[in-house]
């Protein structure tokens, strides 16, 4: 049986990539915490992960900037958050405290994912070197 890195790393590789994307979404929310009319966005991580597991990200490659972005995944599961309070006065729905905690959580989970990957790599290295 050949060693397959894809199988060896399981879903951790995709998980880390999705976490990085989620960090970007949350950073966008926090940067726009004072922008009037900005609506906070969030990522449905469970759905994104399921799609990654089923490898549904088939799409057409864009070779020209005028091409449309055709992908089967829907907006990469990024959607608007439902705000806790109906109106803050300027139409902004970012709750900085919530976003900061989510960012922290996401960053820790990212690091956990990287650590899992590290473990997998070490195991593979051991297999390749025959335990020496």
């Amino acid at each position: 049986m050949a060693i397959s890195f894809d199988k060896g790393f399981e879903l951790h590789a995709q998980g880390v990539l999705l976490r990085a994307e989620r960090a970007e979404v949350i950073a966008g929310n926090i940067a726009n915490a004072d922008t009037p009319g900005y609506k906070a966005k969030g990522m449905d991580f469970q759905k994104a992960m399921q799609q990654a597991a089923q490898q549904q990200q088939m799409g057409m490659s864009r070779t020209n900037s005028k091409h449309f972005d055709v992908r089967t995944e829907l907006n990469n599961n990024v959607d608007f958050r439902i705000p806790d309070q109906p109106d803050t006065g300027d139409g902004n729905t970012v709750d900085v405290q919530v976003e900061r905690n989510l960012y922290l959580e996401n960053s820790l989970e990212y690091q956990a994912g990287v650590q899992f990957l590290n473990g997998k790599i070490k195991a593979l290295q051991k297999v390749i070197s025959g335990g020496r």
Binding site: E24, A31, D34, N118, I121
Partner: protein, 139 residues
């Protein structure tokens, strides 16, 4: 690499907030500048923020940074005072003071500096995440 985009986003946040701090400093510094005509009087300045959708134009989903559209002057009425003894008084004895609300500016300053700090912390933790990733697979 989307983690590098976090730096762009937090960077745009930091520059927008520092712009806000700049206008606040200018407003507070000029809060007591007296002038002798309505046209020459300093007016409170505030930046206008908007979400920058550069990535939306590139066909990707828009995780936008923040952008300063411009700086607007407040339309609030000026503080006109009757002070005939004042050296800057006009022919009718009035002096004109800016429409700066110092209390409002102070709270603005605190809000801006907190938002700036939040953006710095985000960049810091994104840096840590990238550092961990760079060390992936090393002993």
């Amino acid at each position: 690499m989307s983690l590098f985009n976090v730096f762009n986003i937090t960077g745009s946040g930091m520059s927008a907030q520092s712009m806000r701090l700049n206008t606040t400093a200018s407003n507070i510094a000029n809060a007591d500048s007296v002038s002798s005509s309505i046209d020459e009087t300093y007016r409170a300045r505030h930046p206008v923020f908007a979400a920058a959708m550069q990535k939306a134009a590139a066909g990707q989903e828009g995780n936008a940074g923040v952008q300063v559209l411009g700086i607007v002057e407040s339309n609030k009425p000026l503080n006109i005072e009757y002070a005939p003894d004042h050296p800057m008084a006009d022919n009718e004895g009035y002096i004109y003071k800016p429409n700066v609300n110092v209390i409002e500016e102070m709270t603005n300053m605190i809000s801006a500096s907190r938002s700036y700090q939040t953006n710095v912390q985000l960049a810091e933790s994104a840096k840590n995440m990238l550092n961990k990733t760079l060390l992936l697979g090393q002993k």
